[in-house]
C-alpha cells in the first residue's frame, strides 16, 4: 500500500464513528448524537470560544485533538460516564482500540495521532485542558436544551455531575461559571437529582 492508500484507508475506517451513538441527545431531543457530530461540535466551539480559555493555547492543536478524541470508540464503544461497571474496563478497551486504529496510518502519523490522544487523556497541557472542558460542557448544554432527557433516563445526581466536572474549570473558569446556573435550573425542573 502507498502512503496515500494507507491514509485513505484510515479516512474510510474512521467513517464508523458516525455510527457510534452517545448518551447525549441532540438539542431538539429527537435522537442521540453520534461521535462524529459531537467531534464536529467541539472543533467548532474550540475556535468560537477560544477567548474563554484560562491560558494561552494552540487552537489548531486543540482542534486536531477533539477531532480524533473519540476514534477509539470504533472498537471500544461509548462508555457512559455514569456507568461504574463499564468504566472499570474502559481504559484497557480503549488502549487496544488505539493500537489497532491509529496504526492504520503511516507510522509518522500513527505516532502523531496517538500522541494527540494520549495528551487529551492525560489532560496536562493547556490544549488538553481546554479540549476536556469543551468535551464536558457540550453535552451539558445539549442535555439542558433537550429537556434533560439523558439525565432523567439515567437518574443522574448532582454529585455525579460535579465529580465528573472536577477539572472542567481548569480549561475555562468562565465556561464552567456559565454552566452552574444551568445545573441549578435542571435541579429545579427535576431533571437532575440534588442528593
Amino acid at each position: 500500500m502507498t502512503r496515500l492508500e494507507q491514509q485513505i484507508n484510515f479516512i474510510l475506517e474512521i467513517d464508523k464513528i458516525k455510527k457510534i451513538s452517545r448518551q447525549t441527545y441532540l438539542a431538539d431531543g429527537s435522537r442521540p448524537e453520534n461521535d462524529a457530530e459531537h467531534s464536529w461540535h467541539l472543533a467548532t466551539m474550540c475556535f468560537l470560544l477560544k477567548e474563554y480559555a484560562n491560558e494561552e493555547f494552540d487552537v489548531l492543536h486543540t482542534i486536531e485533538m477533539v477531532l480524533i478524541h473519540d476514534m477509539i470508540e470504533i472498537d471500544a464503544g461509548d462508555t457512559y460516564a455514569y456507568d461504574p461497571e463499564a468504566n472499570k474496563s474502559k481504559r484497557e478497551r480503549e488502549l487496544k482500540a488505539a493500537d489497532r486504529i491509529f496504526n492504520l496510518l503511516p507510522p509518522d502519523q500513527a505516532e502523531y495521532v496517538r500522541r494527540l490522544w494520549d495528551e487529551f487523556e492525560e489532560g496536562d497541557t493547556p490544549e488538553a485542558r481546554f479540549a476536556n472542558t469543551l468535551d464536558k460542557i457540550q453535552p451539558l448544554l445539549l442535555n439542558d436544551a433537550s429537556g434533560g432527557t439523558a439525565w432523567k433516563s439515567h437518574g443522574v445526581h448532582l454529585a455525579q455531575i460535579l465529580k465528573r466536572n472536577e477539572k472542567t474549570p481548569k480549561g475555562s473558569e468562565s465556561l464552567w461559571e456559565y454552566c452552574k446556573p444551568i445545573l441549578k435550573e435542571n435541579i429545579e425542573k427535576g431533571n437532575i437529582i440534588e442528593n
Copy 2:
C-alpha cells in the same frame, strides 16, 4: 444577551446541521450522512492530507472554513449537485441563510465567519482551493466505498462528475489523480454512466 450567551445561542442553533441529510451515503451504505458528519470528516482529512496540497496553506484557517461551510444549509437545505432546477435558486437561498445564521454571533465573529464562508464559496485562496478539493473528494470516496448508491440512484453521468470536479485539481493534483481510477472502476461496475 451577553456576548457568551450569544455565542452559546449560536452553538445550539448550529446543532441543526446534524439533521441536514446529504445525498452521499456512509461508507457502509447504511444511511445518508449528514452535514455535521461531513464537516467533521473534511476537517480531519484537512490535517491528515495537508501534505498533498498544491500550495502552502494555513491548516487552521482551512479547518475553520470546512467546519462552517455547510451551516447555511440549516435554512437553505442541501442542494443536490446534479439537480439543475434546485441549483438555480441555491445562491439566493444560501445568502439569506448566511445573513440570519451568522448574525446570531456577536458582530466581530459574525463578520469573521461570513468572510470564511464567502472565501470558501469564491474559492480564490490556497485555503479555499484545498477546502473545495476535500469537499469534492470526500463524497467521491464515500460513494465508491458504499457501492455507488448515490450515483446509481440519480443516474449520474461521468461528464457531470468531471464538470463538477473542474476545480478539484486546483487544491491538490495528487488527490485528484488518486480519484481518477476510482471513477474508472465505477464506470466498469455500472455505477456511473460513461456517456
